[in-house]
Structures are given as structure tokens and as C-alpha cells.
């Protein structure tokens, strides 16, 4: 190693003013450098945005219970909703509890009303309070009457009613989740 080099190396003088370079070299260096930085980033972002392609395909009606299981006394009862199959990324689960509904059968009839069991405010599970004959949210103290209409608290909308039919002696519910915290009832994607 020459003496000149050592002095250049060990005592870094202020770098010389860069000589005038052609625009092309600067442009090419910057452009290629940009490609190199962006390529892995874009390849990763494409994959990271994959979840946006996924849709919730569960829109069929689900058999929740036999009609006989629900007394016609106007008192709401909680029933689990079981999906036959549920896909979670690569896994296909079978017979999965997906949520719950309160079913109310009008006295002396076979008319059934189905209410989503979570609070439309922020998704906490609603309790049915027998002595008050009302639904109450344990999180932020919203209350709803037997028809699911707000009677107090902070919920922006009434309880979410679900499409429900009685067919062949069984209760079928089109189970859906709705976006929480909004005044309008909007289904999740």
C-alpha cells in the first residue's frame, strides 16, 4: 500500500467536490437503484394485500334448532350457530361454532325472530337479563328491549335482526356479522 493511500484512508479529508458528471450516469444510477429497492418491496406488498381478495362466503341459511326447542313464551333464548365448514386461510374447520343468536318465539305462534347476540356498538356479547326482561351489554351498558330496540346506553343502532324462517319443523337463520359502531346496519365483507 502506498503512503499516499494510507494518508487518504486514515485521515479522511473533506471529500473533493464531485466533478461534473453527465446527467445520464446520475439518472441511470438513481433509476436502477430505485428498481432494486422497489422490487422486493412491491413483491412483498402484492402478497400482503392478498387478504383484500378474500370474501366471507357464508351467506346460506343455517339450521339453528328444531322449532320444538324454543318455547312459545316470548322469552329470548340463546342458540349457537354452527357452520358445517369454515375456512381459515389454509384450514377447513368442520362443525364450527361461528356465533350465537337470540331466538324469540311470539306467544302462541310459530313466528320466530332472530337477533344477533353481539352488541352493535363494539361487538361485546349481550346478556339477557331475566328480571328486567331486557338485553344488556356488559361492556358499555347499552340496553335493548325484547324486540332489540335501544332503550338506553351508547349503541348507535338497534340490535341486528337476522333473516329467519321456520321450515320443516326447524328454525333456519341467515347468519351474518355486521360492522360494529355504525348507525347503519352494514354487512361485513
Amino acid at each position: 500500500m502506498s503512503a499516499a493511500q494510507i494518508s487518504a484512508a486514515s485521515a479522511p479529508a473533506p471529500a473533493p467536490v464531485p466533478p461534473r458528471r453527465s446527467f445520464l450516469v446520475r439518472f441511470a444510477a438513481a433509476a436502477l437503484g430505485g428498481v432494486l429497492v422497489l422490487f422486493p418491496l412491491l413483491a412483498g406488498l402484492v402478497v400482503a394485500f392478498d387478504p383484500l381478495r378474500r370474501k366471507n362466503r357464508q351467506t346460506r341459511e343455517i339450521r339453528v334448532a328444531p322449532l320444538d326447542a324454543l318455547p312459545d313464551d316470548g322469552v329470548p333464548r340463546l342458540f349457537p350457530v354452527i357452520y358445517e365448514t369454515l375456512d381459515d386461510a389454509w384450514t377447513r374447520h368442520r362443525d364450527v361454532p361461528a356465533g350465537a343468536v337470540y331466538l324469540v318465539r311470539a306467544p302462541g305462534t310459530s313466528e320466530v325472530k332472530a337477533l344477533h347476540a353481539t352488541c352493535p356498538h363494539l361487538g361485546c356479547f349481550l346478556d339477557y337479563q331475566t328480571e328486567r326482561r331486557a338485553f344488556g351489554c356488559p361492556c358499555h351498558k347499552s340496553t335493548f328491549d325484547l324486540a332489540g330496540v335501544r332503550t338506553g346506553g351508547v349503541s348507535p343502532r338497534d340490535m341486528d335482526e337476522l333473516v329467519c324462517h321456520v321450515r320443516g319443523g326447524a328454525i333456519w337463520v341467515k347468519f351474518q356479522n355486521f360492522l360494529a359502531g355504525r348507525p347503519e346496519k352494514e354487512p361485513e365483507a
Binding site: 487518504a8 473533493p16 418491496l41 406488498l45 402478497v47 400482503a48 384450514t91
Partner: protein, 608 residues
């Protein structure tokens, strides 16, 4: 804007930093040979970025590691590209590291004042190799699993604390969830963190010493930006192009058509500790070590696995000191070149040659083909309506007649019956039970009722039934039947099996099958000896009711000496696999489905 930047500079001094980073002096002008280090930084940066995105979709556990990688590879948009780049960039990094080392040694860039930076480089090399090794296991496929098993067993060879170290690395006495979580923490946390720290020191020292300019200086001095940056960028782009070429290569099917479902890094079948994987090999850049181990048998193995690599590393580490001696630099260069040209390269070539051209290569190549078939099959199953159960993809493969049924047949049945599809020769011909390829199909039964074949090796030729009543019947009485009578009896008997692949033909020939059933049920014909639905009696010959159906085969394998089949002495050497407990009912069912070729078939491409 200008005011803001001035304020920012006043508070941070960033202009000075940027200036120092970009305007490093390069005596003698920009040169291609200075680009090696930059390509390595580029590789590492790419690995960090692609690795972080892979991390978002990866799940380290026995039931989810392979499955999440499958999901990345085959179901997420662009997943094959991301994973492919990460996989092949890792290989590029190892190669470039070797070249970087070679260049540094040949140029003598390890000498004062750069000794410490050389040692930092060696540490970096170990970290990169550690990253390669830990990353290989993470997909939890057969290849990574078995290769890494060897590597961790080698850790156990180390004198003293070897087995404790092995247990620590593996996360327990056996491979499992914690092997994956620990390898993942090493691969995505500890090792990249260490690499970043050492890389920072390496680059900082490099900047302090300045570039080791190659004499003679060809051009006037210039600065890093933009001249050397351009050369570095072009070199990195070339690396990226090669990597992309590797990613797309498996998808190349000629004629400028790419089948992107095959692009990217390989993913073999899920790891299976109970299933021998003869195609296990380390990644190609470790092949020389693998080959080296073949020369150190038994208790000398530690020499090849631990002592020799340690000595080589020691010599590398001593290079800066040896280099002070008059002939030291020459020694260093010769040592490294000899190591590469007389060690690594020939050992790699030998390893490849023994696998592909050696006496044992047919077995190895067959194992590679079988592994590829399993890999393809599991993807078919994962995309079938059953999808992947919560118990993991291996459960799918283990309940697949085409895979597990074949494996069971090969282990339990093929020793006498031969492998379906292969001609009855060699060992199986000598023991010689009937070949069951296409069992109970129309073609198989036509052969059985053919006087020229029934006593041949494919049917009863090498069994006790060779001189039995069935052979007498086919070579005697049956000759008086018309061709149509024989044909319709074959159709009727084959229809008893209800083979899924023959369903359309069975429906089409319903009337001939009806005629054939009447023939079989004739008291002076088959029902003389065989029971067939209501006709005939048990005890003299196998029951033809439901012949070749899943239940019939399962019952037969359970106990062939049952009165429905070959009662008492009539059974020729076939074990009662079910009754003796050699096979579970589920396993017998898999064998039956395998013989019936009753398994999931993906819809033909283009049907979607």
C-alpha cells in the same frame, strides 16, 4: 422546502451524513471489482424485506408450518414470487459471499490496517450460513426436515456438550413445535439482528480504511456517487435477474409458455418422521460437506463434520497474520484456491455424480421421483373439497389411498403380489401371488378366465391354486362357453366391484351384465362352487357376491381363510392381516381403495 431542509440539517446534520455516504473517494475510478460487497448488501436487504412479508403469512408449528407455506406458495397472490425470490436470493448470497472472500484474499485486502474487518467478514459468513441452515427447515417439508435432522445430529457429535447442545437447538429430545419456533426465532430474529450489527461494523470499518484500490490506478479519482453506484446497481440488477431466472425456470415448459403454478421454490410433501425419505440432500452449496462425511465412517465422523471445517476456518482467520510473512500472501491465495478447486468443487461434483451416475443412483433417482409425486399429490389434496384439516396436511396424505394405500401395499403385499403396474418378475414371480394391478376390472377378469393366462405368473401360476379346480374349469369346461357368455360373465362379475372408474361402462352394459349374472348364478356354472348372492354355497370357493368391492377386499385381507374365501387349507400362505393385528381396519380400507383406484382425482385442467 428549502427552508425546511435547512432547518432539518441544522437540527440533524443530515447533509454531512449524506455527503459522507455518497462522496466516498475512489482512487483510480469506479470499477466492477468493487461491486461484490454491494451485491451482498443488496441480497441482505432483499432478504430482510421479502422475509418480513413472508413472516406475515408464516406460522411455525408442526400442523401449520408446511400448511402456511403451501398457502403462500399456491393460494396467495404473488406468493410464489415472494417465496421464490427469498429462496434463491439466499443461494445467491452464499455464492456471492464465496466470491467476495476470494476477491478479498486474492487482492490481499485482509492486510493491515484491515485485519479486523476481515475477521468481521468471517463472522458475517458464519451468520449467513446459519441463516441458510435455519431457513431450510422452516417449510417443514420432507427435504428440509430430513436434511436438518442430519445437521442437528452433527451438532450432537461435538465433544463434551454435544448432546446437550443438540437438545437445546432442537428444543427438546425430539423434533416438534419447539424445533420450529426456535429455528424461526433464530432465522428471523437473532441471526438477522447479529448480521445487521456486524454488517454495520464491517461497512463502518470499510469506510474508515477506504477502498483497497487495485493497482495500477487506471483512471482519475472519482466518488462513490454516481459512478460506483451505477456499477454496483448494474451488478445487483444482474444478481436479481439471475434470481428471477431461477424462480421462473421450473415454470418454463418450452415454446415461451410459463406454467406459473410450478414457478418458485420447491415445496416437498409435509415432514413425516415415519416415512423414509431417501431423496434427502442438503442444499447444493453444502453438498461438499455431505460428500466429505462419506469418507469418515462411524466414530471418525467428527473429523469430517467438526474438526476439518474448524481447521479451515482457523486458517482463514489466521490469514491476516500469515500475510505478514514474506511468502504469506502467496500461501493464503494458494490455500484458498486449493480449498475451492481441490476440495469444494470436486467434492460437490462427486456428490452429484454418485447420485446421478453412480451404482446407487437408480434408487436415489426413484426416491426423487417418488418425492416429487408426493409433493404434487399433497397439493392436489389440499386443493380438493376436503381442504386441509386442522390436524394438518400430513393427515390428508396419510388418509389418501393413492399415497398411503400404495405405501402400505408396497410394505405388506408387494413382496408376494408384486407392485401393480410392474411385470411379475424377480422376487415376486418366485413367490408369485397374483398381480393385482387393475384387480377386478374387466381386463383383469378376462385374463383370469383365459386358459392361456390363468396358470401363468400373473394369476395362479406360482400358487397352490396352479393345480386347483378353477384352473381345471377355465382350461376345461369353460371352453364350451361362447365368447359372448364369457364376456358377459366378466362384465357381470366386474360390475360387482362397483369400480368408480368403470361406473359409466357398467351403466352402459346393464343388459349384458344382467345376462352375465344369470350365468354366474347358474347351479351348473359358477355357482357349482361359488356363492353368488342367493345362489350357491359358501365353503368351497370364494364368495362372488360383491366381488372386488371395498368391503369384499377388506374382508378378504382381514382373513383370507374365512369360509367366505379360501376356507381352511385352501388358503395358500396369505396371512390374515386384520385378524392378526398386522393392519388396522383403516389401513386395510386404504389398501382396498388403492386396489380399486378409488381416490380423489382433481378435475381435468380447463374444467374450471
Amino acid at each position: 422546502m428549502r427552508a425546511f431542509l435547512a432547518w432539518l440539517d441544522d437540527r440533524t446534520g443530515y447533509r454531512q451524513l449524506v455527503h459522507e455516504a455518497l462522496y466516498e473517494r475512489i482512487p483510480g475510478g469506479a470499477r466492477w471489482r468493487y461491486a461484490w460487497g454491494s451485491t451482498l448488501v443488496f441480497c441482505f436487504a432483499t432478504q430482510v424485506v421479502t422475509g418480513l412479508f413472508l413472516w406475515m403469512a408464516y406460522s411455525p408449528s408442526q400442523q401449520t408450518a408446511w400448511e402456511s407455506v403451501y398457502y403462500i406458495q399456491h393460494e396467495m397472490q404473488g406468493g410464489w414470487l415472494l417465496r421464490g425470490v427469498h429462496h434463491f436470493m439466499a443461494q445467491a448470497m452464499v455464492v456471492l459471499m464465496g466470491l467476495h472472500l476470494l476477491q478479498v484474499v486474492v487482492d490481499g485486502a485482509y492486510r493491515a490496517p484491515r485485519e479486523i474487518n476481515f475477521w468481521l467478514g468471517l463472522v458475517l459468513m458464519q451468520i449467513v450460513l446459519g441463516l441458510a441452515l435455519t431457513g431450510y427447515l422452516l417449510p417443514w417439508d420432507q427435504k428440509g426436515y430430513w436434511a436438518t435432522k442430519v445437521a442437528t445430529n452433527l451438532v450432537g457429535l461435538a465433544p463434551g456438550l454435544g448432546s446437550a447442545a443438540q437438545q437445546l437447538v432442537v428444543g427438546g429430545p425430539t423434533y416438534g413445535h419447539h424445533t420450529l419456533t426456535r429455528f424461526f426465532a433464530l432465522h428471523a430474529g437473532l441471526l438477522p439482528g447479529l448480521l445487521s450489527v456486524f454488517l454495520l461494523l464491517h461497512v463502518a470499518l470499510f469506510r474508515r480504511h477506504g477502498i483497497k484500490a487495485k493497482e495500477p490506478l487506471r483512471q482519475p479519482e472519482c466518488t462513490f456517487w454516481p459512478d460506483q453506484v451505477l456499477k454496483d446497481a448494474v451488478a445487483c440488477l444482474a444478481v436479481l435477474a439471475v434470481v428471477l431466472g431461477c424462480v421462473l425456470w421450473p415454470a418454463w415448459s418450452g415454446a415461451w409458455k410459463l406454467d406459473l403454478t410450478r414457478a418458485g421454490a420447491e415445496l416437498m410433501a409435509p415432514a413425516d418422521a415415519t416415512n423414509q425419505y431417501s431423496a434427502a440432500r442438503p442444499e447444493w452449496y453444502f453438498l461438499f460437506l455431505y460428500q466429505l462425511l462419506k469418507y469418515f465412517p462411524g466414530d471418525l465422523e467428527w473429523i469430517g463434520a467438526i474438526a476439518l471445517p474448524t481447521v479451515v476456518l482457523l486458517v482463514l482467520a489466521l490469514m491476516p497474520l500469515v500475510g505478514r510473512w514474506k511468502y504469506g500472501h502467496g500461501f493464503n491465495v494458494v490455500f484458498l484456491l486449493a480449498l475451492l478447486l481441490c476440495g469444494v468443487v470436486p467434492l460437490t461434483v462427486l456428490a452429484w455424480q454418485e447420485d446421478h451416475r453412480g451404482p446407487d443412483s437408480p434408487a436415489y433417482l426413484a426416491a426423487v421421483d417418488a418425492a416429487a409425486a408426493d409433493a404434487e399429490r399433497i397439493v392436489e389434496l389440499a386443493q380438493s373439497p376436503s381442504r386441509i384439516p386442522p390436524t394438518g396436511a400430513l393427515a390428508l396424505l396419510r388418509s389418501d389411498p393413492k399415497t398411503e394405500g400404495r405405501r402400505l401395499f408396497e410394505h405388506k403385499c408387494a413382496v408376494c403380489h408384486g407392485t401393480p403396474g410392474s411385470p411379475p418378475d424377480g422376487e415376486s414371480a418366485r413367490i408369485g401371488a397374483p398381480n393385482l394391478a387393475d384387480f377386478a376390472s374387466r381386463a383383469w377378469l378376462s385374463g383370469l378366465l383365459n386358459p392361456a393366462q390363468i396358470a401363468g405368473p400373473k394369476y395362479f401360476g406360482n400358487t397352490a391354486h396352479f393345480e386347483g379346480e378353477m384352473v381345471d374349469f377355465v382350461t376345461g369346461e369353460l371352453l364350451s362357453w361362447s365368447q359372448e357368455e364369457i364376456a358377459s360373465a366378466v362384465l357381470a362379475l366386474s360390475a360387482e366391484a362397483g369400480l368408480p372408474r368403470q361406473a359409466a361402462a357398467d351403466a352402459h352394459d346393464a343388459t349384458r351384465i344382467e345376462a352375465g349374472r344369470a350365468l354366474i348364478a347358474g347351479e351348473d356354472k359358477c355357482a357349482q362352487c361359488h356363492k353368488f348372492h342367493e345362489a350357491g354355497e359358501l365353503g368351497t370357493a370364494p364368495d362372488l357376491t360383491g366381488y372386488g368391492s371395498r368391503q369384499w377386499i377388506a374382508d378378504f385381507v382381514h382373513n383370507p381363510a374365512h369360509e367366505r374365501f379360501y376356507a381352511g387349507d385352501a388358503n395358500d400362505r396369505m396371512p390374515a392381516f386384520g385378524e392378526s393385528g398386522q393392519l388396522s381396519p383403516a389401513q386395510i380400507g386404504l389398501i382396498a381403495d388403492y386396489l380399486r383406484q378409488d381416490w380423489f382425482q382433481p378435475p381435468a385442467t380447463g374444467a374450471e
